[in-house]
Amino acid sequence: MDEPIVKYKDVHKSFGDIEVLKGIDLDIQPAEKVALIGPSGSGKTTIIRMLMTLEEPTMGVIDVGGRNLWQMEKKGEWVRADDSHLHSIRGDIGMVFQHFNLFPHMTILENCMLAPVLVKNESKKEVKATSVEMLEKVGLGDKIDLYPAQLSGGQKQRVAMARALMMRPKVMLFDEVTSALDPELVGEVLEVIRDLAKEGEMAMILVTHEMDFALDIADRVVFLNDGVIEEEGHPEDILVNPKSERLQDFLSRFTVNR
């Protein structure tokens, strides 16, 4: 196996007095697809938000590509990461949000072009060409000049994926990206993720309640319960033959169709 692209080492997170993550150890291999499941409030979102630098761990270390994300070395000492340190690592990570978070004042083409032009200083012309390609790939090639408000939820989420992909992250995070959608729109979004997963080279962490989907595309399923990883392993072992009582109990709320 390669060196992991992401390593959580005994990571804790508290909000006020409440410890929501109680020591997470988790390695993600390059190109690995990991499904993160668990009951509401178990800390799934918090785990990936810390990797996206939206939330700072209270304790422990997260490495990205061998570099410590939240601490940096300064005069031989480890100190809290500053903006430029976070900026230098964050480019490897991308995220798709539950509520899309598209920029409403820009067309969907502009949504896709913004970061590559500003952050990577790529030429506008080239970025435009790749953005159009990317939007075609998610099935929105004919909508590039529309504003987010003119799209359906499923279309918005596909734009959000195209926008995140434009930065070519090594790890993409998906936080329940279909749970804000009308049921009939879930399929089109899962389809795009499935295609991405097949392409292969990008690692993916998917927080999801779609158990069939997890079984289908994940290399590994991680079950989080009450701030700790209760059980993890091959999707079949976790979703079809769960060992721990808590996992069995949790899965009994879903129907998993093999």
């Binding site: 964050r90 949000f97 978070n101 920029f103 409403p104 004042h105 926008r163």
Partner: protein, 220 residues
Amino acid sequence: MGSLPDIFSTLMQGLKVTLLVLVLSIICSTIIALVAGLSRVSTNRLVTGVTGFYVEIFRGTSLIVQLFWFSYALPGLFNIHLGSDIWVAVLAISLNYGAYMSEIVRGSIQAVPAGQTEASIALNLSKFQRMRHIIIPQAVRMMLPEYGNYLIQILKATSLVSLIGLTDLLYYGNIYRSTHLSDSPTVYLLLLVMYFVIALPLIAFTKKMESMSKKGVALG
């Protein structure tokens, strides 16, 4: 009995001062509002503290008193002279309305949903780029309708400047009336009309901003 053209031509002599004070006050108060509004959402405690103090002082006291302070009290007490009377008026109006308007700037910036900032962090935009390309454009759309309302209020506030001796519309109206008492109704009717005509473009601007701002703002 003076004729209408007579009254009109007298009043017109004050138009220049009214318009000058209006335009300069709009420019200065907008700049002050932007700077103060951005300062209030800064993470630096000293910056937010100082601007907070400024805003409360100027919102908590009346514009007339501020006009008198800048024009008579400061020079008398501390020998501070702020320049010509026009600039004294512009400064007082701008600081007063800048304080009110900075609150809209602050409120609009804070009303941009947190998800917008999070998405731009996820795309690795710098702090400055986040403000410049994501937060401020959306905040501006939200603040424009109220901003237009304040511009109309600034126009009304300019009519106070005759109190510190500026020769604006109202000043000439009063001059004319004092010599032609029987023409009072005509003078004030004409003043009303003139102020309203000046307000028309500002009203149109506000309407336009209202319809524009309905588009392109995140709904959560």
